[in-house]
Assembly symmetry: C2
Homo-oligomer: 339 residues x 2
C-alpha cells in the first residue's frame, strides 16, 4: 500500500515522494522584497520579453520549467507529467507554456491554492505509482490579474487598504519517487467554505475560514498537532486574512502556538513596499515555497511544515452578480531533507 | 502495486476502479436530441430556476450530484472527493455548486476535456488508495458560454458554419474501489498540441491534432489497437473536427477501423436541430458519457471504449491577441460491466 487514507480529508504517504528540485522566477517588486535572495531568476522587465502580460506569464512558467530542468540535469522533455494552473481565464499561462513540448499535462484551477493543489496531486500521481515524477507548477502576474479581476492599470484605480498585491512570479517543484530532498508525508484536501464575505478587495478574510477548516481537518484526521510543525504556512491570506485566521482559530479553541505565518506577509516588506495587506496570487505561495521554504527544509533549518495553499474561488462575474466569495485551502505536510 | 506505468503517457490499473453510478442533467435542446431518453433529468427552463446563466450551471452540477447520490443510495456528504471543472472563468460553476457541502474538492481546468480529466484523476485517487470513492463531474451551458467566449445572446450574432453548439448539461460519475459497473482499466494523459489553427469558431479542427496525438500514444504505450475497442469516442470534435481527425489519422497511417465516433455528433441530430458542426462544451462529453455510454457499457452492449475528452485551451484574451488555439486530449479506457 502506497498510501493510507486518514479521516475524511487526509492521506499519508507510506513511501513519501521527494521534492528533489525546485525553481522560482520573480518580478521586479518581488526582487526588491525580503526573499529576493531565494529566487533563481528575477526580471526587471514586467513583460519578460513578451508583448502582453498574459504572454509574460506564459514566459515565466517556461523559465521556471527550464530552470527546474537545468537544476535537475534534465531536458524539459524528460519530465513525465506537469500539474499546473494559474489565475488567467482558462488558465492560458499554463497551457500556452506547455504547447508542443510533448509533456503530459493535467490542468488545474484552484485559484491561489494551486501550488498546494498541484503538489498534492503530484504526490498522489508519484505515490500511487502512476508516474515516476511529476512537476507541480503555477504562476501569477500583477498586471494581468489587475486588468482581469479589477481595472486596467492605465485606469489608475486606487487600491483599498484591505487589498493584496498579486505577486509576479512562477514556482515549480519536481516530485520524484526517490532522491534527496524534502519529502511529502501527507496531504489534506480542502472543502469549499463560504461565510458570506462579498468584498472582492478583502480576499484574505474570505479565505480565512477555509484555511481554518483545512488546518483543523488535518489535525483531526492525522492526530498531529501544531507542536509537530515548525511552521504552519498559509498562502496567501495576507496580513488581514492571517489576523482573521488567528481570531477564528482562537474562537474555535485551536491554539496554533505561534506557528502560523503566511506567504503573503513573507514575500514583501510592507513597511517600505506599500502593498497594503500583503502579497497574493498563485505565484505568491509558488515562489515562497519554491524559493524560501524548500531551501530551508532542505538544509534542515525547517524540519516539518504544513504548507496550506489558500484560494478565493470568485470570478469578476460572480462578484458583479453580488455573490459571496467561496474559499478553499489544501494542506501539504512537507518534511525536511535532513533529520 | 495498484498501477503500471506504460510508456510515456499511459498507466494501467491493476485493480480497476469501478464506475458504480452516473447521472446526467440536460437542457431543453439536448432533451430534443437523439439521446434524450438517456438523461436522468431534463429541464425546459434554461435558467434551471436561477437568476443567471452562471448560477444555472451551478444548479445543474448540484442536481447532477444530488441525482448521483440518490442513485447510489447515499447523501452527497458521503462522497469522499469531487474532481470537477467547467468552462466558466475561474470555474465558478464547480466551486459554487460545492459551497459549504463539506465535500473535499479538487478543481480542474481542461476545457472540454474535463470529463475525461476528472475521470482519469478519480481513477488515480481511488486506484492509488488515496480515497475510497471519488466523483468526476463537469458542466457547460450554452448561454453562459456564448456570452463569455463570443457575444451576449441578446446581440443576435450569427454563428459561423464551422461553429459548434455548447451543450447545456452536467454529467457526474462515481468512481469506487469496488462494486458493480463499468471499470476504468487504463488512462492516457494528453499533451498540449498546437498546429496553428487561429479560428476560434472552428475548435473541432484545433483539437483534432491533440486527439490524434493521444490516441496514437495510447496504442503505442499500451500495445492495444483499435480492434480492441468497440468505440473510440472523442468528445467533442463535432462533425468537422471528426473529419479532420480521420484525415490526420489516415495521413499518419493509423487506421481507426470505423471505430471513431464523437460526443458532439451524437448529442444532437444535425439534420433537424441546426447546431452547425455539432455539440461542444464540457457538458457535451459529460452527458453523453454519463447518459448514453455508461448505460450501454453497463448492459454489455459495449464491451470496451476509449473515451477521449478533447479540450480547446483558448481564452477570449488569447484569441484577441491573435494567438493560435492549443488543444489537449485525455483518454480513458472503460470496460463494460458484463463480460
Amino acid at each position: 500500500m502506497t498510501s493510507q487514507k486518514r479521516g475524511r480529508q487526509s492521506f499519508l504517504l507510506t513511501e513519501p515522494p521527494v521534492i528533489t528540485h525546485w525553481a522560482s522566477i520573480a518580478g521586479k517588486k518581488e526582487s526588491q522584497g525580503p526573499l529576493s535572495h531565494t529566487f533563481d531568476l528575477t526580471s526587471q522587465d514586467p513583460y519578460f520579453g513578451q508583448k502582453t502580460w498574459e504572454q509574460a506569464e506564459k514566459s515565466m512558467q517556461q523559465k521556471a520549467l527550464n530552470k527546474l530542468a537545468e537544476k535537475a540535469h534534465k531536458k524539459i522533455q524528460d519530465f513525465s507529467l506537469v500539474f499546473s494552473g494559474d489565475l488567467l481565464n482558462q488558465c492560458i499561462g499554463s497551457s500556452f507554456s506547455l504547447r508542443n513540448t510533448g509533456i503530459p499535462h493535467l490542468g488545474l484551477y484552484g485559484a491561489c491554492s494551486t501550488m498546494a493543489e498541484s503538489l498534492l496531486l503530484a504526490s498522489m500521481a508519484v505515490g500511487g505509482g502512476f508516474t515516476e515524477d511529476a512537476v507541480a507548477m503555477t504562476s501569477s502576474h500583477f498586471a494581468s490579474s489587475e486588468r482581469q479581476y479589477r481595472f486596467p492599470l492605465g485606469y489608475g484605480g486606487q487600491r483599498t487598504p484591505t487589498s493584496q498585491w498579486t505577486v509576479t512570479g512562477s514556482g515549480a517543484a519536481l516530485v520524484c519517487k526517490t532522491g534527496n530532498g524534502p519529502r511529502i508525508r501527507g496531504c489534506t484536501i480542502g472543502t469549499v467554505c463560504d461565510l458570506g464575505i462579498q468584498d472582492a478587495n478583502n480576499m484574505g478574510c474570505a479565505m480565512a475560514p477555509a484555511a481554518l477548516a483545512t488546518i483543523k481537518a488535518h489535525f483531526q484526521d492525522t492526530g498531529r498537532t501544531p507542536a509537530d510543525y515548525d511552521l504552519i504556512v498559509t498562502g496567501d491570506l495576507g496580513q488581514l486574512g492571517k489576523e482573521a485566521l488567528l481570531e477564528l482559530a482562537r474562537l474555535d479553541g485551536l491554539a496554533l502556538g505561534g506557528k502560523l505565518t503566511d506567504c503573503g506577509t513573507l514575500v514583501f516588506d510592507n513597511t517600505v513596499q506599500d502593498v497594503h495587506a500583503g502579497g497574493s496570487g498563485c505565484g505568491c505561495s509558488g515562489i515562497v515555497l519554491c524559493g524560501y521554504l524548500l531551501s530551508r527544509l532542505n538544509t534542515g533549518k525547517l524540519k516539518n511544515i504544513l504548507f496550506c495553499g489558500t484560494g478565493a474561488l470568485l470570478s469578476p462575474t460572480s462578484t458583479q452578480q453580488g455573490l459571496p466569495i467561496p474559499g478553499v485551502c489544501h494542506a501539504v505536510w512537507i518534511q525536511g531533507g535532513k533529520e
